[in-house]
Symmetry: C2
Subunit: 329 residues, 2 copies
């Protein structure tokens, strides 16, 4: 029997595929398999075994941690409470406003069933959250800023696709460099939505569609685009597929703070991500938190829900505490 | 009786003064006082009471955490094991090579005496260490890079001051921008010492001193300067005091990693600090870790030595777990 941490995946979209690939990079882990709502023979993995999710209770002793790779809108609010009855879990629930209620629901069921679950892992929520906490803890007098991008926003791309006459679209969120520079200079500016980010849209329109009307519908769309400076480019499908196939993302968390007798000393903490694939990086973070979950579950007396705030960093790394102190401190 | 966490400081140099000021910024803390080896009446604080260190055992029940603000060369290797017999402590021990033995010594005595101690807190070791760990945990296939500066290196400045004919000096370590850019581009370069940093020295020489000889002694000094491109500027004392009075520092930790089926997807994680005062920022970090120490000590069953790797981020922040999830996640 291998001593490796055994991982299973629920849901095989971009994120599930990323988890399959990330587990391969971790020598202390192995993938038991993928559980899918689809017919297993229709799920083409990179080599992982595929099971029907309806069979999952037959595999209660076959793996240590289940990584939930569904969406936050409808999947995870149901799935995490359901599967934490029987499995130690990690999810990437990212609807910020609903995190407290998701945490409470998962925590209660995890404790009732002696399971460990990290919710809302990933990079935002996740690594960006950690850096917001660190910034405020290390520089209590100061301002925090989060900028996103340059990257593809799936929700905004979908919103454009729903417009009449649009065949496909890709939307990029872009941080405004001059705003970033003002924060880096310690100006502590008050930045409006429009001053922080711009939005750039690449749209494939149907033949004969009214392009002016589509553009106007995009740039005036409430919540999604109206508060931003938005640029719309019409391109053909071949160009969209060739130049905009990736799902890059990233961003910046900055803390601008002051210390001294009367705030006369300035400091800037900056954390930045530049990700060629949002789902592959998110998956890598989920896998590291799955390592922490496996260790907490093995230790015992740890049942409940956790967020990135509750996980000691050493639990994320495969190295021993001695190795970490020697090589990383 | 106040419910605030009570902090005491051992040693009142730049770091101790920074701790005094940082505690003022934390509403959940108060400073009991400063313990000094000097005559208390000779120690001019920003308002904190000063006690002789010889009296410290009379104050065993007067504060929760003692922050040790001595130096790593001779003070901390003796002080931390000594004071952890009676107090929960935080230190900033930063002699990287000796951390394992310092940890072992402190851990043993802390456990024997039921005390909690975080060693090697600050920004390097400290926040930079955390980011080295995070980088390797989230992107196991990749390269890590640490750049320091632009900032004043106390050790290098001291080395210049020991040269005959030098009255005073300030040395700046400067990261090479082109090397940083290569890392940010994902080139994963192998960088020599000379390629990563340059050194710039501002020197006040005695009247009639042989400037050419001083410059040659600096740039050829083994370990300190010989492996770097070093620039030497001779300036007068008034200029040194006017333009080089601060102790700025900072730097960058980068992780350049890859994911995907065959490493085809690239990611960059960057953490950067730009600090106008190295000791004031280090002090702010020590104070946040003192909060974690106080909480662990209060919880009980936590005796021993810890590093930044062992401290769950939530312990650093004054907010409750609920507030953190709601406002920071």
């Amino acid at each position: 029997m291998s001593n490796k941490i055994k991982i299973a995946v629920l849901g095989y979209g971009n994120l599930g595929r990323g988890v399959e690939l990330a587990v391969r990079q971790s020598d202390d882990m192995e993938l038991f398999g993928v559980f899918s709502r689809r017919n297993p023979s229709d799920v083409k993995t990179q080599g992982a075994k595929v099971f029907a999710v309806s069979e999952i209770l037959n595999h209660k002793n076959d793996f240590d941690v289940l990584i939930l790779c569904g969406g936050s809108a409808t999947d995870l609010p149901k799935q995490t409470p359901e599967f934490v009855q029987n499995f130690n879990c990690v999810d990437s629930f990212d609807t910020h406003a609903n995190i407290p209620q998701h945490f409470a629901a998962v925590d209660k069921i995890a404790k009732q069933n002696g399971k460990v679950c990290v919710i809302s892992a990933g990079w935002d929520p996740g690594l960006f959250s950690l850096n917001r906490l660190f910034g405020a803890a290390f520089l209590p007098k100061g301002e925090s800023y989060t900028f996103w991008g340059k990257g593809v926003s799936q929700g905004h791309s979908d919103a454009i696709r729903r417009i009449e006459g649009v065949i496909d679209a890709r939307q990029y969120t872009i941080p405004v460099e001059s705003a970033l520079d003002r924060v880096r200079k310690g100006e502590n500016p008050n930045l409006s939505t429009r001053e922080k980010h711009t939005r750039e849209c690449f749209v494939v329109a149907a033949e004969g569609a009214d392009l002016e009307k589509i553009e106007k519908e995009i740039v005036t769309m409430p919540n999604y685009f109206a508060d931003y400076d938005t640029t719309v480019h019409f391109i053909d499908m071949e160009t969209l597929q060739r130049q905009h196939a990736g799902i890059p993302h990233g961003g910046f968390v900055l803390r601008s703070g002051e210390t001294g007798v009367a705030g006369e000393t300035k400091h800037i903490i900056e954390f930045a991500l530049k990700l060629d694939s949002n789902p592959e990086f998110t998956a890598s973070v989920l896998v590291a938190y799955a390592r922490a979950v496996a260790r907490l579950a093995k230790k015992g007396d740890s049942a409940g829900a956790y967020t990135v705030f509750d996980i000691a960093p050493a639990l994320l790394a495969p190295q021993t505490a001695e190795e970490l102190r020697k090589d990383f401190l």
